[in-house]
Symmetry: C2
Subunit: 426 residues, 2 copies
Amino acid sequence: MAETQNESLIDEAMRELGVAARRASASLSAAGSDQRNMALQAAADKLRQRQPDVIAANAIDMRNAQARGLSAAMLDRLMLDADRVDAMANGLENIAALADPLGRVIAEWRQPSGLHIQRVSVPLGIIGIIYESRPNVTADAAGLCIKSGNAVILRGGSESFQSNLAIYECVRAGLTAARIDDCAVQMVPTTDRLAVGYLLSSMIDTIDVVVPRGGKSLIKRVQDEARVPVIGHLDGICHVYVHEKANTDMARDVVINAKMRRTGICGAAETVLVDRKAADRVLPALLAALSDAGCEVRGDETVAAANSTVIPAVEEDWSTEYLDAIISIRVVDSIDAAIEHIRTYGSGHTESIITDDVRAAEKFLGDVDSAIVLHNASTQFADGGEFGMGAEIGIATGRIHARGPVGAEQLTSFKYVVRGTGQTRS
Amino acid sequence: MAETQNESLIDEAMRELGVAARRASASLSAAGSDQRNMALQAAADKLRQRQPDVIAANAIDMRNAQARGLSAAMLDRLMLDADRVDAMANGLENIAALADPLGRVIAEWRQPSGLHIQRVSVPLGIIGIIYESRPNVTADAAGLCIKSGNAVILRGGSESFQSNLAIYECVRAGLTAARIDDCAVQMVPTTDRLAVGYLLSSMIDTIDVVVPRGGKSLIKRVQDEARVPVIGHLDGICHVYVHEKANTDMARDVVINAKMRRTGICGAAETVLVDRKAADRVLPALLAALSDAGCEVRGDETVAAANSTVIPAVEEDWSTEYLDAIISIRVVDSIDAAIEHIRTYGSGHTESIITDDVRAAEKFLGDVDSAIVLHNASTQFADGGEFGMGAEIGIATGRIHARGPVGAEQLTSFKYVVRGTGQTRS
């Protein structure tokens, strides 16, 4: 009974968020570029001004997290200090400085009928963002949505609730300062998981797209329950293929960077495929460098035979996203075998070929069907900033709408604007 | 028990379609533009060659339909004769003549890191198309999917099963002639509705997008049950707004065309909004022309007072898609009232403003949030052919991925192709 009552209260609260978002969406999409940028600047100013309040709110989350025994890594993700709050404010200013993603004429042409047709970018509408731990997502996500004219409903992790709330209030103040309906950014007012279920399955007529950002269990839940469209990715099992004609030093440097620069991001490499014709030349240098960098190697028979520190890989290794200083290495017989391995075990995220042979590179770039394919570059470049998008809300591996880094431009839709002189259709 | 057994047989058959589609998808997406066009041409040739077989198959459907008492309009939609089969073959040739939607470099730029980034169009993957009555959709939809490199699973209406099968066999023969895995186009081998349920809810990992094409109950079922992304539209409640500064003759001609050219298509106008300042001038000419054209008018008080033939409109009229020679007319106080009416009752499909005032037109084009907005032109231009897309599979009113006419280009995704010289990320 208590639960049913709770559920109906949550449903009612979510419905209210939806109604307010719809109304605010009209206010935000009618706001010009200057007005949206003013909101972003004002939010950045507020964040700097209220920095002590934000850090105090974060201290409550940190105390609760410590009491619940969260890991050191989780605590570090949660923690806010003066530098991190300032970085959030800088992030909002960077978003303000981006080109306006709205009102762009993506294409235009004239038809034989005399009609002049333009395809013009417009906001998507209302976006739901479900995320975990890092409180900076509150500022980043809200900022990208304001920039792209989308109303947003934010649902952060329960462990960062107080921090998110403090940041959120700065963003709302920014909207108010720019005379935009401040319900353009809203936060789900409860940490109850029922609210997420309602958002995913009962707000089909309100939410245009949901962007999940967090660990695998969160993304899995969103993908399983969502009746609304989802932009995101479940796995980032990224590959580096060292081709027969790879430069040894480049192969070593790119693999070390692709794995070790940051092991916990989705663009980190998880598997290296070494062409059999390059194995004798490349493997010793590669294994030595990985060992020096403190990376555990799980290899197939050939790799394990090359060095006693290599742990024999099992089938499961080829489909594991370690997100840690662990890498799997397999020797493949050909570029076709490499592509087939990626087709079988990959997650469609990011793959790189290292080779001096342009024809082999073009074959790999053409045949590998991932969101991002690279030639002679680290998979860690899979990032909106490195793509020149200024900021991103995540990487999408789906094939509908957005693919690869999702920035402000990817949070837009378009409409056709057609100008005539009284044309009727025959 | 029998039903459970039947269900498991259908599930198994659908799974097999999925596996074959995945395999054929690789074959089709690896095929070059010439090869895909060869398949389309060969399919067109086969259709002409087997025309008597197609018409004979259609005769079976027609006899069954007559026995089931289908309406004359339904029978006409179902019927195939020599001209209609030839039109299908021409349609496939027209699709072959379109520019290749694959491998287009949509954008390219160089980053400060030295990386050269291209966004290149690729197939979506595997498309499910669920449609009713008109057998020509079998050829059109298969043709657009072949052109855009997408494997497709077709599910036509039970009333056109034999016709669809005969057309489908010509398309398969075309694929074989072009040495493409002919499972790139597959047809659900049963008319059992369970197969649609399985396709919509259990093929999340196989089907990349579903395109429903048919009546409202079909589309509603698809939208309600689909766990896969859907591109389509439920309603086409299109408006023409006759502004204060509209030319009387143009307003009359555009409204007559927008309603009466073909009343059964989704781009047909259902409601005319007449600005109060233009009502005395425009209404008499408009009502006379509609009466001459045999169109029933349902009007608000002002409109009903203008002519005794006008039936008083009720609230429901403003949200009704008549798809018939019926139109609703409402007098509005201002352009803002017109935009508000469209926001309240419209379906986001297509709306037109008739005015000689460019500022009013720009306001309307900017503020009305529909897939297609027109100035001084008929809503019946909401069509892929009229947009220069060559052929379309439907009109989308969703905001994700495709919006407006869905042609071969809209059936593509993209990937990022990144070329470096050994870059690692700092």
